[in-house]
């Protein structure tokens, strides 16, 4: 038996360090589907390394806040990575709490929005404005879908207990509530990570960009931190989906075999999710801005149905 805390620390480190790899993998899958060879899956590491070594150019209209924001974004994502179970049920710190998690995503988003407004350019403003429009619809859905899992497992809002409780339910966990909540969470995942059909991570065209618009003024280290935080966000979301909504396979004890199984299953799950995102990005187009709310409202309604079905059925 390895001490819990050590496993939790190791899994947090793994989660943080593989996030550029996951990002690279999604891009690689996308390239394969387009019959391209694509960049290496290690390309994000190289990009980040190059950015960290570069000098910064800061807009003259930016204030002190502009320099603080990348730190805040990266620190928030690190905190979230420490909160999420990866291969082992249980998290590093005692503070893993679902509601706090939702509000930390808010903190991250708002820091980025303020960063977008710093430069005083129309691009940043546009990215910020559109992100906030989405966030009004995303966040309640996120809160409700996570609340569904929480009420379903019946164990309070502590993240570290949740996968185990759902595993203990056995087949009873396959109820409409969990399925609806998962569906809602997947929509949230795609929207939150600025993926097609909500946003296009590959372009800098002003018609499509939200996330890219907000980080447009950043360069050098600031940009590296923002990009790393955004890659971590994708991985954290994949991990939440893989451990809270579909927890089967996760290790509940800290002996080597079950940890190995847990590690293997979560990696397979993440690869499957990455593949699914790649398929989605290759099969649908970026939707018009004012059609986005229809999809997001669907996500909200699904989450609402999930929680209500839990209370009624």
């Amino acid at each position: 038996m390895i001490p819990d805390i050590l496993v939790s620390a190791i899994q947090a480190v793994i989660l943080i360090s593989i996030s550029p790899l996951i990002y690279g993998t999604v891009n690689k899958f996308k390239a394969w589907m387009q019959h391209r060879k694509g960049a290496s899956v290690l390309q994000p590491y190289r990009d980040l390394g190059k950015l960290f070594r570069k000098d910064e150019a800061v807009s003259d209209s930016a204030s002190w806040l502009f320099r603080v924001i990348p730190y805040v974004c990266l620190a928030t994502m690190t905190l979230l990575a420490l909160m999420v179970p990866f291969m082992f049920n249980g998290v590093l710190a005692p503070y893993g709490d679902l509601i706090t998690m939702v509000y930390l995503f808010t903190l991250y988003r708002f820091a980025m929005v303020l960063g977008g407004l710093e430069g005083g350019s129309a691009f940043g403003g546009m990215g910020s404005s559109r992100t906030l429009m989405m966030s009004v619809l995303i966040e309640p859905a996120l809160l409700l879908s996570l609340m569904t899992v929480c009420v379903l497992s019946g164990g309070g809002t502590s993240i570290g207990d949740m996968p185990e409780l759902i595993l203990a339910m056995g087949a009873a966990a396959f109820c409409p509530a969990l399925i609806l909540a998962t569906a809602s969470f997947i929509i949230t995942l795609v929207a939150e990570n600025a993926r097609i059909p909500f946003d296009n991570p590959a372009t800098h065209l002003e018609l499509t960009m939200m996330h890219e618009g907000m980080v447009l003024e950043y360069s050098g280290r600031g940009l590296a931190m923002m990009e790393l935080a955004s890659m971590m966000r994708l991985t954290v979301f994949f991990t939440i989906l893989g451990t809270l909504f579909v927890p089967w396979g996760i290790a509940v004890t800290t002996d080597i075999p079950s940890l190995a199984v847990g590690f293997a299953t979560i990696i397979i799950k993440i690869l499957v999710f990455a593949f699914a995102v790649a398929i989605l990005e290759n099969s649908v187009t970026k939707s018009r801005l004012f059609k986005i709310q229809n999809i997001l409202t669907a996500s909200f309604v699904l989450a609402m149905l999930a929680i209500v079905s839990l209370y009624i059925l």
Partner: protein, 648 residues
């Protein structure tokens, strides 16, 4: 050695009365200063309430005045003392902020300040019907007088609406007096046992309406935006923080202590519906307004509605078959949010006042880039914004966390109420996010970007003494967030003593709530990264914002109205037909304005106003100026009175 209660009451009230007296002297600086000092002494006494009254075995006081309306009692129960301490603290900060900008105010204003403080304190610890009604009325009157200089229409609107509420409150309390036969509130022992379920339910609902007029529940919020827009900033701050605290405290005490909660859910459901509509409407309005003061007005409406929502949920939890832990937690959330609201709202309003003083600009469309010229103020403002937006680990987050956590923890039962719980979480989530978006927008367009006017680019000097309260309030906002656990336990303890409730709290907070750990990790990661980047330094140069090859002028950036246009588009059915585009074409300059008309004014208040006017016109016809008819009226009145006296 305990501090004598008599002496304490004297310390609390006497300086304020002396301050009022000082203000009658003609315009002299000494009188103003003396008045201010007197008020500060009272405030300091107020801050100490909780510490002085906590250890007292019998923290009550009876004024040595007797009248036909019974005795005048004060009761410093732990909950009231706690609220008095926090409110006095906020009041003192407002006073300190006022010192340097006080030259704009007359000595009379200072006197009213004293009177307002005294009446707020008395209303909080009032234990007899008369003292409560008198001090509540005094609060309304003094704030009305302190609003001189505000737009007259909105000022009278405030007067009318809050007096409507005041009349309702008066009626309910006098009914309570009539039903129990005593004017001492703590001796009533649950009015519900005297009047029955239904009447008690109606009483509580009326009290929520009555105090709701002050808190800004729909449709009584219509006085808020215009009044906040034009009134003196310090009055607005006190109105929005200390007076709201008074209203919430009296609501809690009268619902759960003096009247008692009826078994039926109809009452709580009605209040939940009203509060949800208010909260969402407040959040939605604050998204589209472009004046910072108006945004803060609607934000107050949203926050207060969330608190009222919590109280209504508390009524349900009290009656459901849970142990009392959920009830206690939701009430703690309400009280903590009230306290937090008074801190972050006063911080934001005072910062805004400072910005307005130094730049003379009152609308976001002419602000921008202030973080570069007023860096310290921008730090305070971002702390206030983060607290309002409920971002961890600030204080606003703690109370919102408690609300959502308690509702989620209520779990699956077999009651109809369970259908309502997820809806409540959805309401809390939606209006929380919407409000947060509007605060981010508020901060972003005030402090970030490039200046949108010359005045915003070169603000005047800010005196250090007006920065001190802002600094203290921001520290308090952080401290109430990071170190919230002891505060929560203090509130739980005072509530247990005040409401005499037994409860079992199985570490509902300690389980998963660790604000200290969260902030420690956040700060540690930032510091480690910063240290790394200091060691491996790279250069940084300043460049112009990229403008596609052109030089960007002041207006070539997002405008606050354009910023939330996508949201207006999405929620168009709700904003409805109330948006209009006005074009002013004056010579070479053209300005476009988007106006949103409050539908509650248009569809509720105006028809009522028209109805009252036409009714009074109709009644006015009996005034025909003919002496015979007047003699006839007198005769009819006499006969009716005589018959009435004979048969009743």
């Amino acid at each position: 050695m305990l501090f004598p209660v008599e002496l304490f009451v004297a310390l609390l009230v006497a300086p304020a009365i002396i301050g009022v007296v000082f203000s009658v002297f003609p315009r002299s600086r000494c009188a103003k200063a003396a008045s201010l000092i007197a008020c500060s002494i009272s405030c300091i006494a107020g801050i100490l309430t909780f510490f002085v009254m906590g250890p007292q075995p019998d923290p009550s006081y009876v004024f040595r005045v007797s009248s036909a309306f019974g005795t005048y009692n004060l009761e410093f129960d732990p909950l009231s003392s706690l609220m008095m301490s926090f409110s006095s603290f906020v009041f003192l900060m407002v006073l300190i902020h006022l010192v340097r900008s006080g030259s704009r105010y007359s000595p009379g204003y200072m006197g009213l300040m004293n009177l307002l403080f005294m009446s707020c304190m008395l209303a909080m610890c009032a234990d007899s019907v008369m003292i409560l009604l008198i001090s509540w009325e005094l609060i309304t009157l003094t704030t009305f007088l302190m609003l001189s200089g505000a737009d007259e229409t909105s000022r009278w609107r405030y007067f009318t609406i809050t007096h409507f509420g005041g009349l309702i409150i008066m009626a309910v309390f006098i009914a309570m007096w009539y039903a129990t036969g005593t004017t001492v509130l703590s001796e009533m022992g649950g009015v519900i046992s005297a009047v029955g379920e239904t009447v008690a339910g109606v009483m509580i609902f009326l009290l929520f309406i009555g105090f709701g007029t002050k808190l800004g529940m729909v449709p009584f919020h219509v006085w808020m935006p215009d009044l906040y827009d034009s009134a003196p900033m310090h009055t607005v701050t006190l109105l929005s923080t200390v007076c709201s605290n008074v209203a919430v405290l009296i609501l809690i005490k009268s619902t759960f202590l003096w009247i008692g909660v009826p078994d039926s859910y109809v009452l709580s459901m009605a209040i939940i519906a009203l509060a949800s509509v208010s909260a969402i409407w407040g959040a939605m309005e604050s998204l589209v307004r472009i004046k910072p003061r108006v945004i803060l007005a609607y934000s107050g409406m949203e926050n207060m509605s969330m608190i009222v929502l919590c109280l209504a949920i508390g009524m349900i939890f009290l009656k459901l078959d849970f142990d009392n832990s959920l009830f206690i937690m939701i009430l703690v959330a309400a009280i903590l949010h009230t306290i937090n609201h008074s801190f972050f709202k006063s911080l934001m309003l005072l910062s805004l006042g400072t910005v307005e003083n130094s730049t003379g600009v009152h609308t976001m469309e002419r602000m921008g880039g202030l973080a570069k010229v007023l860096p310290l103020l921008s730090v305070f403002a971002i702390i206030g914004t983060a607290s309002m937006a409920a971002v961890p680990p600030m204080n606003g987050f703690v109370s919102e966390w408690l609300m959502i956590k308690t509702v989620i923890d209520a779990g699956v039962g077999d009651s109809v109420i369970n259908i309502v719980l997820p809806l409540i979480v959805a309401v809390l989530g939606i209006c929380g996010t919407m409000a947060a978006v509007s605060y981010v927008r508020l901060y972003g367009f005030m402090f970030l970007g490039r200046p949108r006017s010359a005045a915003a680019a070169e603000p005047g000097r800010i005196s250090p003494s007006s920065m001190v309260p802002l600094g203290v309030l921001s520290c308090a906002c952080i401290a109430l967030g990071v170190l919230s656990i002891p505060v929560i336990y203090t509130i739980i303890d005072s509530m247990r003593k005040t409401l005499a409730i037994t409860y079992e709290i199985e570490n509902i907070i300690a389980d998963s709530f660790h604000p200290v750990a969260i902030s420690a990790v956040l700060i540690a990661v930032c510091l480690i990264l910063y240290a790394l980047f200091r060691v491996f330094r790279r250069g940084s140069r300043s460049v112009k914002t990229w403008g596609c090859g052109t030089d960007l002028d002041d207006n070539m950036q997002y405008s606050p109205s354009g910023f939330t246009q996508p949201l207006v588009h999405v929620f168009h059915p709700l904003y409805g037909d109330v948006s209009e585009l006005i074009e002013n074409d004056s010579g070479s300059t053209r300005t476009y304005n988007v106006h949103f008309k409050d539908p509650f004014t248009k569809y509720v208040m105006r028809p009522i106003g028209r109805g009252v006017l036409s009714l009074s016109e109709r009644i006015g016809r009996i005034q025909n100026g003919n002496i015979q008819s007047y003699l006839g009226y007198i005769m009819i009145a006499l006969i009716v009175t005589l018959l009435g006296v004979r048969f009743i």
